[in-house]
């Protein structure tokens, strides 16, 4: 059976290749630190399951330490000039779009189609990991077609990938790091503590106040944790179920659906949601780390008001 391990190995080899190529790139004055960063990440993807928990923890400390002091520098992989790109666009035209679409197309086909593939009686692809494995397959297929069609130098995909990865830099592991922090916070009982604080300060005699506390709590907790999934169980168990549902007779499905969407408003407002708000600023070369959040903020605040109003209007009456 093909499991997610194959995909992790593929990613690990890619990061390891970035490490080697970085080491041979004299344009980056901090190439040793940058190379060590990619090497550690490659190690984590290739051997994370064999390092043991403490070993993985040391990898985390290493990545944080390398990012902390003095930065990682920027590599300058060989690529094309602006004029060559305009020429390339003229030559290849819309075929470049079709190549880019191979990834999501194969990912979708794989997600839907893997279920049908079996070796003997066991499934060919781990049914719990289909979407991730399908994504990796999409990348491999797109890469193969692009190599055959465009005929670039053999190292080009890795060098061009390194160009983008260097640009994203330490922010590339930020979402994963925050997910890990969320798990440690959960073990340390941070969520439960926040739940206690919220229910202690809450006026509990008005349905409107309960709805507002729940939606604002979802948004606020998400702001801190960077992920509405971390906020939802705490706020629902601490505020939503006891007050909105049990005390005031609200509908749990409506409450939960609009509560999660209120949390998403928080996601749009916080640097903790790094994959949505920080990674694009690095990829788009925006010097202001808050640029994407600023562009989203009015929508997020208005949608929080809308979700709160919708919940108040619907949850007690349907």
């Amino acid at each position: 059976m093909i499991g997610v391990g194959v995909v992790y190995a593929l990613a690990g080899l890619m990061f390891a290749a970035f490490a080697v190529l970085t080491l041979r790139d004299p344009a980056n004055p901090k190439r040793y630190r940058r190379s060590a960063f990619w090497a550690l990440l490659g190690l984590s993807f290739l051997a994370g399951d064999r390092l043991g928990d403490v070993g993985d923890g040391v990898v985390v400390l290493g990545l944080a330490g390398l990012a902390a002091f003095g930065g990682l520098g920027l590599g300058r992989p060989q690529t094309t000039t602006a004029a060559e790109r305009v020429e390339g666009a003229r030559r290849w035209g819309d075929r470049l779009f079709w190549l880019a679409l191979i990834i999501p197309a194969v990912a979708l086909a794989g997600t839907l189609g893997f279920k049908a593939l079996h070796v003997g009686s066991s499934p060919l692809v781990d049914p719990k990991q289909t979407s991730v494995i399908a994504l990796a397959l999409g990348v491999v297929v797109a890469l193969a077609v692009a190599m055959l069609m465009l005929r670039p130098p053999l190292a080009a995909p890795l060098q061009e990938g390194r160009r983008l990865a260097d640009l994203v830099g330490w922010a590339l592991v930020l979402p994963q790091m925050l997910a890990a922090l969320g798990a440690v916070f959960a073990l340390a009982g941070v969520g439960a503590s926040v739940g206690h604080v919220v229910s202690a300060v809450l006026p509990s005699n008005s349905p409107a106040a309960a709805v507002i506390a729940y939606t604002l709590g979802m948004a606020g907790f998400t702001l801190i944790m960077g992920n509405a999934f971390a906020a939802f169980p705490v706020m629902t168990a601490g505020v939503g179920m006891p007050l909105i549902v049990h005390k005031f007779g609200g509908d749990p499905a409506i409450m939960a659906a609009l509560g999660m969407l209120s949390g998403f408003c928080g996601t749009l407002l916080t640097p903790m949601a790094a994959n949505f708000n920080i990674v694009p600023t690095t990829l788009l070369e925006l010097p202001d780390r808050w640029a994407v959040i600023k562009a989203q903020a009015p929508t997020a605040v208005l949608m929080l008001i809308v979700n709160t109003a919708l919940m108040y209007a619907l949850v007690f009456h349907l």
């Binding site: 984590s44 400390l61 390339g88 470049l96 925050l178 916070f185 168990a237 659906a257 990829l283």
Partner: protein, 233 residues
């Protein structure tokens, strides 16, 4: 209450503009230690959770393909393609993308968008190209504003589209949490209540994008008057 110190560490670290990675490690250590864990145990928990969360980073395995296509002019193609449409403005293009992103996410096709696959290589160059047709070479602040709005529109479209799809992680999480609370709901009961918010999000963000066109016009006019240093096309 003591574990809440970890949150304070995070907030202070972000406010002081320190590198987030060591701040996160410090926050984990603070919360773990104050909850009574041994230092080595906190590091082990952090390492295990990091290892278990590797799938979060997997979106980046697409960078060799995207980088390769950029090498052969994907972004340049996106810019010229949009320039051929005389109706296109930055705001209208992003409104159209917002609708497409919401609809495709509602069908579960999240992988069609995102900052790596779509915003950097295609959407942002198109949004810039639509503005370049009007005002020629754009001043740097305008370029940044347009790029930020391209990323923001991708995010808004995903957030207020995906919960309409019934098989999504967040819908399954809601179902699971409610089940623990003794309430059983069908996924369709949940996703149907995401529809009013999705419509509201389209109207609100779409109206803001329409105003973005006017704002860009003002900024471009002001930049031309001031004779600001233009950016290389």
């Amino acid at each position: 209450m003591l574990p809440l110190i970890g949150i304070a560490v995070l907030v202070v670290g972000f406010a002081a503009r320190l590198n987030p990675l060591p701040v996160i490690v410090a926050a984990a250590l603070a919360s773990g230690l104050l909850a009574g864990m041994a230092p080595l145990a906190v590091i082990a928990h952090l390492g295990k959770a990091f290892n278990d969360s590797r799938y979060v980073t997997l979106a980046f395995i697409a960078v060799p393909v995207i980088g390769l296509l950029e090498r052969y002019g994907l972004q340049a193609r996106a810019r010229t393609r949009i320039a051929q449409l005389s109706m296109a403005t930055t705001g209208r293009l992003l409104i159209l993308y917002l609708a497409l992103r919401q609809i495709t996410c509602a069908l579960g096709l999240l992988a069609l968008g995102g900052p790596v696959q779509m915003v950097r290589p295609v959407l942002a160059p198109m949004a810039e190209g639509a503005a370049q047709v009007r005002w020629g070479v754009l001043p740097e602040p305008l370029v940044r504003l347009i790029r930020a709005h391209a990323a923001a529109t991708d995010n808004v479209g995903q957030m207020f589209g995906e919960d309409i799809f019934i098989a999504l992680a967040s819908i399954l999480l809601i179902k699971g949490v409610l089940h623990q609370e003794g309430v059983d709901v069908a996924p369709l009961q949940l996703s149907i209540w995401a529809v009013p918010s999705a419509i509201a999000a389209f109207l609100i963000h779409g109206a803001r994008l329409a105003r973005l066109d006017k704002r860009l016009e003002r900024l471009a006019a002001a930049a031309i008057v001031k004779g600001e240093e233009p950016r290389d096309a």
